[in-house]
Symmetry: C2
Subunit: 342 residues, 2 copies
């Protein structure tokens, strides 16, 4: 068993920099694509045997130091009463996006074991299958990012409807996010109880906010989730993209580890976060689409910038893109493990 | 005639802070929507009488200190040999996105008077119609942003194909951007000759790059455009979104005025840019969708942060969204003009 991932989360000494990749189980892998030909994304998420199998694929194929449960940020929507599906080429689509305050009031709280028992089963099953090889990460979306999907109905460029609700009906916004924070908190605590050894909170789209808006509209709700996780004792990771202007605010909401994207050099980001945080990142995932020499040169730059700082977990700045060659992902993981500071 | 916009571009004293809005002629205006019912977006762009009429709509309806010619970033594509159209709800779509180096080699240079004469006519016509009321801004896309549309075929979230070309075929990338810079340079110089009194270069999506990638892949080509504009003597504006991590690099490429979005407070951004630049921005456009008290409080915050710094041009951090009430835009412009530092 390699425990360097968990050690690095706590900024303890490690033999080499741990590495895993966001969306390491996904469409860039032939094994995954083969399963997707026979099952919808939601079927894969809802069938613990299949979710387990997918979670293990990259652990077998790539020299990673952690597994992350195969699941989706939007799964809590259905037991809340918000039906959604995945539309080819477009991503998730919520059937009836939230439009009125009544829509928000109708959102249900639920017992994770009842509403999302299949995720918890997959976690327990994956832990057994992993048999201690690498630790297992559970995850969920942060309230802001989940709220944006619930309001926009899918991915958004400008978050116009989300912000119109925030600015125009702040009480309704806070009620929505309070409810989302309750749901997410219960869900991630249940994931830990089921066997998750670390939790990553994805606030993927929070970079759309200024620091002031982050403080007012997002931070209290994300902080509630991290607060709920504290008694579990597992390390927590707080990830967002486009967060160059709000890193100290993001960190103030919580997270033993802060996940950063490629827009700021990792040492510059780390200086803003302070040395009491571990940092995860931050290679541009599109580098996996280019030539190997440029990929490894950029990876070396990340490692050099992080060298001498306890608590670096190597990762991408966002998920692996479907067109990435598996071989590049494998080479990258090996390169990270082979790296020694000059 | 109010010349406070042009004075502010040069950081000269003004009686009040000048204000204009990106996409101030657009779908949020009933007059514009009425024209769009009868004409496609491309027809409007290609008919100087209609483009002139649309350019003037906000000058008549809103207390703005500049007009910006009604046009579109992608218009140079067609005379280069890249057909495109606008797809309802999705934005621009290039019919055959660039896929191979041969596709890049086929891109044509052209005389702006021949390929885009209708834009130059619209500029000349608008100048006559404006009759000195407010100055007229011309514009074009920066090579990176144009290249991303040409390669992705439309808007993109991750710029995977764009970056794959950048990283994997840097010579082809630089040939493409060199050609785009030649086209854009000739086009904006011709716009000045036709009557444009300032030029804004939109590098809308350049915030997807790290500072290092910006330096290598975008900056030289944007710098070439600003270099070409120097002999014209008109003030230049350099705009991008999501640029919090690359502001000094962006400024190094050129621009008397740097346009910034809302992610960084304007004084923080300005400190990074240095006092020798004028700064344009930076209200979050979604604030126009919320209540008036919050809109004006946020506008006051921008004005207070910029107070005492010569060269502030009030604007949004990105274009006006279609759902914005015209009345809010009007109120905002009046508020900016009425503002006096405490």
């Amino acid at each position: 068993m390699t425990d360097r991932f968990l050690l690095a989360c706590r900024r303890q000494p490690v033999d080499r920099t741990p590495v895993w990749f966001m969306r390491q189980a996904g469409r860039y892998m032939a094994d995954y694509r083969a399963l997707r030909e026979r099952h919808s994304l939601l079927e894969l998420c809802r069938t613990p045997e299949l979710a387990t199998r997918i979670t293990l694929q990259p652990v077998d194929a790539i020299d990673v130091d952690a597994a992350i449960i195969f699941s989706d940020l939007l799964l809590p929507f259905e037991p809340m009463g918000l039906a959604f599906d995945f539309v080819k080429g477009e991503g998730p689509r919520v059937e009836q996006p939230l439009r009125t305050e009544a829509d928000i009031e109708r959102l249900r709280l639920f017992e994770p074991r009842e509403g999302l028992g299949y995720v918890l089963e997959a976690i327990a099953m994956t832990r057994r299958e992993l048999d201690g090889r690498v630790p297992l990460i559970g995850f969920a979306g942060a309230p802001f990012t989940l709220a944006s999907y619930a309001i926009e109905g899918g991915p958004s460029r400008d978050f116009a409807k989300t912000k119109a609700l925030m600015y125009g009906h702040p009480e309704a916004w806070h009620r929505l996010c309070t409810r989302l924070a309750q749901v997410v908190s219960a869900f991630v605590v249940a994931q830990v109880e089921a066997g998750a050894q670390a939790i990553q909170i994805f606030d993927s789209w929070v970079g759309a906010l200024s620091a002031e808006d982050y403080r007012e509209f997002a931070r209290p709700h994300t902080a509630a989730v991290f607060e709920a996780l504290k008694p579990t004792g597992v390390p927590t990771i707080h990830f967002g993209t486009g967060t160059s202007a709000i890193l100290p605010e993001l960190a103030a909401a919580g997270g033993d580890v802060i996940g950063v994207d490629w827009r700021l050099p990792i040492d510059v980001a780390w200086d803003q976060l302070g040395s009491e945080r571990a940092v995860q990142g931050n290679l541009d995932p599109t580098l996996l689409l280019g030539p190997r020499h440029r990929l490894l040169r950029a990876a070396e730059d990340v490692l050099q910038r992080a060298a001498g700082r306890p608590g670096h977990i190597f990762n991408l700045g966002h998920g692996i893109l479907p067109a990435s060659p598996l071989e590049h992902v494998q080479v990258l993981a090996r390169f990270v493990h082979g790296y020694r500071p000059a």
